[in-house]
């Protein structure tokens, strides 16, 4: 049934309110990043700077920022690639294998993601130190893969589980072997699910702070979230540059999300309705 005009107006109003509530911090971040150093704490507070300036961006875009950015891209990119590949293979096995043992393994996978990061960080740190991996990309990539993989498997399993097996059987009878069926039928059809999972993994790893801080020691290895911390000093916080950096950190992820949004929504609800 189509809602009446007043009902729709009320719904739209509520949606606007919700959007404002969610977006206000982002707005404030952008606003502060454009304020000259004197203004962030001016009283009365201004929603929008009187004299917007890009000075903060110029200062924030220092050489270190570029190093951190490259590090983040390498670590997140590798994590996304490894997690999605492993997740896809594992999820496919979980949906197609008929063994009881394999079903039981899935519960273990779910269990694995229940531990809070704070609880596992010290064991992981000791393992990384033992393996001589501290302060390397590998340390972060391995740690990120291990924390994102369970959710990735879970997401992809839901997606693959709803794909009709008949398609794979048809390909089998058409003459394709198992690998060929996987790469030519399963992977193309799972693309929305793969993209949704990749976006999820990217968002998680791009903003991860605790592991990045703990497993890296030098500026050369730091990632963006840790880099933001540079502006938090012992005697004060340089809000202008901090917010400008935050904007620059957020933009790539937001851009990716907007570009792939339709896959993301489709991936999370795929199969919910008969297509």
């Amino acid at each position: 049934m189509r809602p009446s005009v007043p009902e729709r107006a009320a719904l739209a109003g509520l949606q606007l309110l919700l959007a404002a509530f969610v977006l206000l911090p982002f707005f404030w971040m952008v606003s502060v990043s454009l304020k000259p150093a004197t203004e962030p704490f001016a009283i009365p507070a201004r929603l929008w700077p009187e004299a917007p300036t890009l000075d903060n961006y110029v200062t924030a875009f220092r050489p270190e920022f570029r190093t951190y950015f490259v590090n983040s891209v390498i670590v997140s990119g590798a994590t996304v690639a490894i997690t999605v590949t492993l997740g896809l293979l594992a999820a496919y096995s979980f949906t197609r294998a008929r063994l009881v043992l394999i079903t039981a393994l899935m519960s273990l996978v779910v269990l694995a993601q229940m531990f809070p990061h704070a609880a596992i960080i010290i064991p992981i740190y000791r393992m990384m130190r033992g393996a001589g991996l501290l302060n390397t990309y590998a340390a972060l990539i391995i740690a990120y893969v291990s924390v994102t993989l369970p959710v990735a498997i879970w997401l992809l399993r839901g997606f693959l589980g709803k794909m009709p097996v008949a398609l794979e059987e048809a390909a089998t009878i058409d003459g394709a072997g198992r690998l060929r069926v996987f790469f030519e039928i399963v992977v193309p059809l799972a693309r929305p699910g793969i993209i949704a999972t990749a976006v999820y993994v990217l968002i998680v790893t791009w903003q991860e702070f605790l592991f990045a801080l703990s497993f890296t020691a030098t500026r050369e290895m730091r990632t963006l979230p840790v880099g933001l911390n540079d502006f938090v000093g012992q005697y004060g916080i340089r809000y202008g540059e901090l917010m400008a950096s935050s904007v620059m950190v957020s933009v790539p992820v937001i851009a990716v999300f907007f570009l792939l949004q339709r896959y993301f929504v489709a991936g999370l609800t795929a199969g919910a309705v008969k297509g």
Binding site: P164, A166, L167, E169, A170, A171, T172, I173, D174, G175, A176, G177, R180, I185, P188, L189
Partner: protein, 366 residues
Amino acid sequence: MATVDLRGLVKRFGSFTAIEALDLAIADGEFLVLLGPSGCGKTTTMRIVAGLEEPTAGDIFIGGRRVNEVHPRDRDLAMVFQNYALYPHMTVGQNIGYPLKVRGLRGAEREAQVRAAAAKVELEALLHRRPAELSGGQRQRVALARAIVRRPQLFLMDEPLSNLDAKLRTGMRAELKHLQRELGITTIYVTHDQVEAMTLADRIVILNNARIQHCGAPAEIYARPANAFVAGFIGSPPMNLIAGRIEGGRFRHPAGGLPLAAAPGAVLLGIRPEHVGVVDAGAGDLVAEVFSAELLGDVTLLNLRAGPSMVIAKVPPEGMRPMGMRLGLRLPRERLHLFDAATGARREDARPKDARPEDARPKDAP
């Protein structure tokens, strides 16, 4: 082209038995229909032939070669699935060409074969469309073209017409039959629709409860069903099965009876709706009352209540009768089938007797 030979086939899923000791030999070029209600094992049988399921026991021979351990790809067969199973990310042309692509055929030769297959099912104009842009009937044609493109030695079809609307189904049925005759490829066809089975098959295998109930040509199955299940499954509407007893050379029923020389016992008397004679009350073998009447256009179906039994009579359209009207049913002796009430098996010992003095005695009261 190939023969198919199934020997002692058994398939169990846990404690459930889908197929029990099935033996079946299919001739080269034959159109064989596996017919039965859902869960009777017909699809499982086909999937075992395809190599998508492994039998629990028994052997599968295709073209004289035992293929139990052979991968589906090397069994040289093609299959049409109930929901078509077209690859949604490929065009019609790529769908049809996939079996060729997988087998390493490329370029102009592949394209020529795809075109030839598409032409057979009148799809040439749609080769660049995606399956999602096609109607149900067109999708069905793509699935068919994908099956015939490689000229396999065996076709497997799993209820290929069941997702089409009634009108389209009739048209596709004719096309399928024509195509199969033209190509002369051995075909195993699974359906639960007895009209499809009757019209398409060279031979029908009726399955129920994991076992073959009857195996024979459509006309034979219709004329002499091997048991009560087959009798009640084939024909639309199916054969009337009237429960009664044979006693003293008569078939006795609460609504009447008729002379029938057969060994005494509980029986099911079978008669096809088109053979039931509707006569005036007081005449005929059974008394009955009109329960409902349905005019189908070319015929009228009378649902008649004869004592505890419902009997359907197929009469000419002008044979419409008002509800509640009492009348008599004549059961022509030469049209009767007799089945054992306990086992359902066909009994061949019935000898319709000619009218004798003992038949003159009053009919059993309803």
